[in-house]
Each structure stands twice: as structure tokens, then as C-alpha cells.
Point group: C2
Chain length 457, copies 2
């Protein structure tokens, strides 16, 4: 049965896609200060849209960093209040040369829209806004009360979000939270996330000589910082994919046999196909699925030292740097893990160099919720119906820090309705979002928002 709201969305599909395209055209890269104005522009786009729809008290809230957009519609009497969270900032788009079309000139091809942010998270935020518009235009009201926070610092760790949430606890109080910033285990396979990883990060710089040195005239007398960094990194994780920093696994909750079974049976991405690696890896004694869903990881995100140009340059570099992040699982405290790593590195500095460790300020605890919660089951029904396929329940290797914060601060359930797919190339060149997920996803949202109203009544 197609409702008026769904009809509105179908009729206005082109207009809505044009509007999404405008949103995606703004290079709102929050990590790079060069794009500060564009980040602001993307925030204003959201605020303007909320005003158009008929939200009240729409405001760009100053945070000290990039502002976050607040808006509310609270005229649904006797209905629950939903706190909808999303983000309008995006990851950097480099390396630009690997994109088939420009990252900030959205292009439709093969049933997908290609652009940085198409899936993470502008595309998914836009679906909610479009659904709000459709409710207001056809029914003059939303089925539930809605408080919206769309932030501009998710891709850099949401540093200013938590203080804002804490300070505005009263303003933001709600019955449950709703987030669409995740994906399905496979295209067309509806998925309910009931767990997320946390994270913590740091940057290690090995400092050697006061300048790059001639490798012949100094080689032998002066420790090579790039080699010293390699020794440090290799000492953090062994070839069995096991982190070797003492204490790293101390607080990790062991996996129950039945949960391991579920994880190993979960449908998933064919990693060999989608990533092109010669073989997958996994921590010794764990399967790939177990490792991704429920075991902590340590990854080098970037590394640089010395000469990177064309040809050769026979130097001992003056320094070497690596960026590192860990994904954490339930039980692990981000601060404790960061301390363990920093202490281990600082206590094992190779002779002849000094080491500076910069702690990433932002971190998040892992999150896990009971998959049988009524709201999750309701969301799963909406998914199953729109995608015409049974919804699977999984834990995710990624992190959405706000989920853990909402859990801690408001003690409300957090429903993760993710419409992305493993083919979306999140954080990579050629990010995309399938147009049929755009259409079906909005169906899910119409159903779920309506169902949430009925529930209270």
C-alpha cells in the first residue's frame, strides 16, 4: 500500500535528487582547515532545508569547531520524541587522480550517485530531510516529535559534540535516537546493527638528526628515523595480526560460542573480490568475521619520512611519522588503551633517536545493545518489508562515537538504520550510493517513523 507520503517522494524524485546533488557539491572536508568555509556552507544548506520544511528554532550552534545544526518539530501530541543525528562533513577526497568523476561534481551512472559523501553521510541525512518534507507537504505534520542534530565534525572525531550534548541535555531529551550513518552487510540485504567498535588514536614521530643527512657521510653514526619507526611499528603488532602491546587484550570481553556462530554465518562481503587482496587475514584463533565484528584492531593510517619524489635521494631522513588508530570492543576503555600504547612506545625508544607521541584527543567506547529491543525489531520489520528480504542482525567494525555518547548521556535506545552498501567506497575514491537504496530507504523511513508514532498510541 503506497501512502500519500510515499507518492510525494516518488513524484518529486528528480527534484529531490537535484537538491541532493547541490548538497554533495559542497566540499565540506572537516579535517582540512582550507575547507572551513565549505563546511559552513554545508551546515547552512541543512539549516535552510530544515527551515523550508517547517522545523522550528533552526539554528547553527557554535561549538568552538565547525558548528552543528539544530532544528525541532514538536507538535505531535501524545507521540514519542525522536532525536535524529547525522553529519554534513565528509572525509578528504585525495587521491583525486583515482576518481573516475570529480568527487564534488556528483555524477549518476550504473544506478548509483558518485560523490564524496554520497553514502557517508550526506546522502543518508538527506533521505531523512526529504521524508520530513514529504510528511509536512502531504499531511501537514510529522508522525512523531523530532529533534535534529546534524554536526560538522564527525569525520574528525566529533570533538565538540559531546560537550554540546551534555550542556543541552534538557533541550535534546528524547525517547529514542535514530541514526543513518552505516550500511548493510550486502547491497539489498537489510541489516540491523546492534554493536559498534570504539576507537582511540595517536601519531608517533621519530626525531633523529636536525636535518636530512647524506647517507654516506653519516650512515653508521646516526640512527635512521625511518628504520627506527619501522622497528617501533613492527613491535606493536605481529604477523599473526595480534597486537603485542602488553595489556591490550586484558579487558576484551570473550565472545560467546553462540555469538561466534552467528557471526560466522552472517552474510558478508567477499573481501577478495571487493578489495583485490591476494588473501584475507584474521587474528590467530579468530575468523575474519569475528575479527571484523568483535576483535580490537590496530592500524597504521599513514606514514611518511624523507624523500618521496621522483628518483632517489641518498639521505638519512631527519624524522619519520606514523598515524595509528585502534578500533576497540566492549570492555576496552579508550583512554586506558591509549595510555598503554603511549607508555609502551615511550618506554621502548630505539637508541639514537627521540620519539614524540601526539595523542588523538578524540576517542569512543564500543557500543552494544540487545538485538531484541522492540524498536530494533520495529526497524527490522520496516527494512524487511521495503527490501523484501529478511533483516540480519550484526555488529560493525566501524565506530559511531555519538552512539556511545547518546547511550551514556541520555540512556535511550539508539536505532541504527543504515542504508549504505559495501560497494560504496566509504573514505575511498569513487564513493557512491545506490539509487534504489535511496528510494527503498525512504520507504523504510516513512514506515518506521509512522510505526514509532503508533507504538506510543
Amino acid at each position: 500500500m503506497t501512502t500519500n507520503v510515499q507518492e510525494y517522494l516518488q513524484k518529486n524524485r528528480e527534484v529531490l535528487l537535484d537538491k541532493l546533488t547541490q548538497f554533495l557539491t559542497i566540499p565540506s572536508i572537516s579535517t582540512d582547515s582550507l575547507y572551513k568555509e565549505d563546511v559552513l556552507k554545508a551546515g547552512n544548506f541543512v539549516a535552510d532545508y530544515l527551515n523550508e520544511i517547517g522545523f522550528n528554532n533552526v539554528e547553527m550552534k557554535e561549538t568552538g569547531g565547525h558548528p552543528l545544526v539544530y532544528g525541532e518539530w514538536l507538535e505531535a501530541e501524545n507521540a514519542p520524541t525522536v532525536f535524529f543525528y547525522g553529519h554534513y562533513d565528509v572525509q578528504p577526497a585525495d587521491p583525486y587522480e583515482l576518481w573516475d568523476s570529480e568527487p564534488f561534481k556528483p555524477e549518476m551512472r550504473n544506478g548509483k550517485i558518485f560523490a564524496r559523501g554520497a553514502s557517508d553521510d550526506k546522502g543518508q541525512v538527506f533521505m531523512h530531510l526529504a521524508v520530513f518534507e514529504a510528511f509536512m507537504k502531504t499531511e501537514g505534520r510529522l508522525p512523531v516529535n523530532v529533534k535534529v542534530i546534524i554536526e560538522g565534525e564527525e569525520e574528525i572525531g566529533s570533538e565538540n559534540l559531546y560537550p554540546f550534548l551534555e550542556k543541552n541535555k534538557q533541550l535534546l531529551s528524547a525517547d529514542f535516537a535514530l541514526i543513518s550513518d552505516s550500511g548493510m552487510v550486502d547491497k539489498g540485504q537489510p541489516t540491523m546493527l546492534y554493536g559498534l567498535k570504539g576507537f582511540t588514536g595517536l601519531e608517533v614521530t621519530v626525531n633523529g638528526p636536525n636535518r636530512d643527512l647524506h647517507s654516506g657521510l653519516y650512515g653508521g653514526a646516526v640512527k635512521n628515523p625511518a628504520m627506527a619507526l619501522s622497528h617501533i611499528l613492527a613491535s606493536l603488532k605481529n604477523q599473526d595480526e595480534r597486537v603485542t602491546v602488553p595489556g591490550f587484550y586484558d579487558d576484551v570481553e570473550e565472545l560467546a560460542t553462540d555469538e561466534r556462530k552467528l557471526m560466522n554465518e552472517a552474510p558478508g562481503e567477499n573481501f577478495l573480490e571487493t578489495t583485490g587482496v591476494p588473501e584475507t587475514t584474521a587474528e590467530v584463533d579468530y575468523t575474519v568475521n569475528e575479527h571484523i565484528m568483535a576483535r580490537p584492531t590496530l592500524e597504521v593510517n599513514g606514514m611518511y619520512s624523507g624523500y618521496q619524489g621522483e628518483g632517489s635521494k641518498t639521505i638519512i631522513p631527519s624524522s619519520a611519522t606514523a598515524k595509528i588508530t585502534c578500533r576497540l570492543v566492549p570492555g576496552q576503555e579508550p583512554q586506558k588503551i591509549q595510555d598503554l600504547l603511549v607508555d609502551y612506545i615511550e618506554n621502548n625508544v630505539p637508541k639514537g633517536v627521540t620519539v614524540t607521541v601526539k595523542r588523538e584527543a578524540l576517542s569512543a567506547k564500543a557500543y552494544k545493545v540487545d538485538p531484541n529491543h522492540a524498536l530494533l525489531q520495529k526497524a527490522a520489520e520496516s527494512l524487511t518489508s521495503a527490501f523484501n528480504k529478511e533483516t540480519v542482525f550484526v555488529r560493525l567494525g566501524g565506530s559511531i562515537p555519538v552512539v556511545e555518547q547518546l547511550d551514556q548521556l541520555f540512556q535511550i535506545p539508539v536505532v541504527l538504520l543504515g542504508f549504505g552498501t559495501p560497494e560504496d567506497n566509504l573514505h575511498s575514491p569513487n564513493e557512491s550510493f545506490p539509487l534504489d537504496h535511496f528510494d527503498k530507504g525512504m520507504d523504510v523511513l516513512v514506515n518506521f517513523y509512522s510505526a514509532a508514532r503508533q507504538k506510543r498510541n
Copy 2:
């Protein structure tokens, strides 16, 4: 006793320094194809100068790469023929922001001239040309026959030099070779080099996923190439500064006790002071001096992977690359060492990635000559006299591939008259050359060229 030639050099000091400044202004960076025209311009500067001086058959010789400059003056009857070699190309100047004055706008301060190439090797080449000019202007002739080759590819391994030398063996035949492309162990401490290291190099690239991946969604399933590269590099050299590739030391000539003694007594650079490192290093069982002068080394010259920008980016990089060079000692065959390294790396590829090793085409064997050879002793006398200090005999950690090639091809002694100092910042920001070494060095050259004539008579 000041000769007419020396008087000419003193009187024309300002004019000559202006001319040197012009030479140093040309950014003749041979490794970067962006500077191809500038490399040519620097070659033409040398050719024009040789013509001005009165050299014959001056020509830019095509090599397939950057051309080399040839010129000859062969009218010294009954005198020996000197083959003078130098190079007009320079190392890249990055990182530019670490220079106190522009690398290609030479500046005199604190008794030094600052510019890329001031010491290596434009400044030293220029001293020979100025001395030739002085002989011709005052005496109308040179004391010896001179064949000059100034090449434009020394900083990228002199790939085309050896084939040229081989093809023009007749044209270039000489009684001995003379090179000023090295330095003294300390400022004002005249030094005769009687040994040089060889080298070989390679570039290792670890290839992982077909794109940068989200570290949460793929961490655990996909091997991290930056981490894999760290494991590879850490497996090449241990924390005792010992190369751990099997066979690496097999052909190294052991050092005689008396040579070790000489090396340890040799005056040298205070590395802590000049490089700012917290402590020096040396291969286990060897001293710093022994390691630098006579033990092979393996250095990472550059390394890059993943995200290097501001802030963080939570990715698994798709690849990671390191540039490596080894300095070799007498006994070691460059090709054999390169093979050992390539085989070792290719036979120890971490699971889940592939590795590509690019062999640096250029290499050189180490070189060693009898320090008691008459020409070396004659050169040492000229040095001792001009600098008013006893000349020391040392082996150098650096490489001058042409030395080994001249030795092999022409079987003639190679005299290394180096005027640089450890403070020159070769290959680094703020390269400089002391003006008193410029003056005294030309005195040495006047004496040595004159002495070389007397010798034959």
C-alpha cells in the same frame, strides 16, 4: 711565495665569486624532470666558461640523459695529462621551508656562501675552472695537459657516464684523474681520501587493497600495507645496526688491526654537535669511525603510505613504499648485494599483500687505493702547505661512482682533492661552502697542477 697565478686569483676574487654565484643560481636538479632545462643551462655555463678560458673541442656530449661537458687543453709538451672530473647537477632542495636563504639565490654570510651545490659540486668544479683561467691569463698556458668531463647526472647515479667513458676510452686517456667532489674531516683539516664506499639501491612497494579502505569496516580482514612494510624493513636491520639479510657481510674484507687503530685516531666530526642526535650509533663490535669508514650500511631514504595531511583519516592504505640504499665496502659486489636484498624481500612477503621491488639501475663498487702513492703524497703536500696543517689520510663513507669506474676502465690513479667541510650540509637545507676554503683550495690546485708538471719533467 705568491706566484703570478695566485696573484691573479686574489685580484679577481670578487669577479670570480660573482661568476660562481651565477653558476649556483641555476637550479640544475637532475633527479626531477621539471628542471631539465635548468640542468642544460648549467652544462652550457660550464661549456661557455671552458671556451672563454681557451679550452679546445669544447662540446656538450649527448648521453641519452643530461649531456656532459667535454673540453681539452693539450698543448703542454712533455707534461702529463690530467683527466679532471666534476658534476654540474645538484640534489633537490626540498624541504625549501628549512632554508634560511633561497637555495638558488646564493647568499654570503658568516664567511660562507650558501646555496644548493655550493659545496657539492658546483663550488669545487668552479675552483678548477678559475685556476685554469688564472694560468691562461698569466702564463698563457696550463702546467699540464687537461681533459675535462663535467657531467649532469652525478646526483642520480651517473647512469650514462660509464658507457660514455667506455666508448671514448681513447679520447679520454690520461696519466691520472683528479676529482674535487668530497670534503675534509673537519674545517681547515686537510684530508686525503684513499677509500670510498660503493652503493646499490632499491625501492620496495607493498601493495594491499585496490583502494584506501575504511579502517573499521575492513580492519581485521585486510593486511595493512604500512604495517607490512614496517615488518619488512625491521627484518632487514636489527637494533644493533647490523644488517640481518643473510649473506650481506659474506664478502666484506675484515679490517686490519692497524687500520682500525688509524681510523679511531682520525680527527672527525663531533656528530652529537653537528647533527643534534641524542647519541651516536654503530654496528655492534665496531666504533662509529670504523662503521662510517669501512663497514657497509643499509639506510631507508624515504617512506610513504596513506594519509599524510592535517588531522586524522581512519584508513587502511592501499600501498606503502620505501626507498633503500646500501653503502658497500671493498669485497662486496653491488649486483650480488642487490640480488640478496631482492631475494630476501621477495621470499618473505607478509601474508595478504604483494610486494614489488624496483631495482635502482645504478650502483658502484667500493674503491681503495694505496695511500703512499706518489701523487697522493704530492697532493697531500699541497694541502698541508696551503692550510698550514698536517694532512690526514682517511676512507670515506660516501660514494663517488666515477672513481671506481676510472680505476676499472683506465687503470690510472685517482686523486681526490676535496675541499668541503662537515658543516656544508650536503644534500640538506642550507648547503654552504666556506670562502677561505675557496681561497686556500685554489692555492692548493695551483701548487698541485704545477707540481704535477714538474714531476714529469
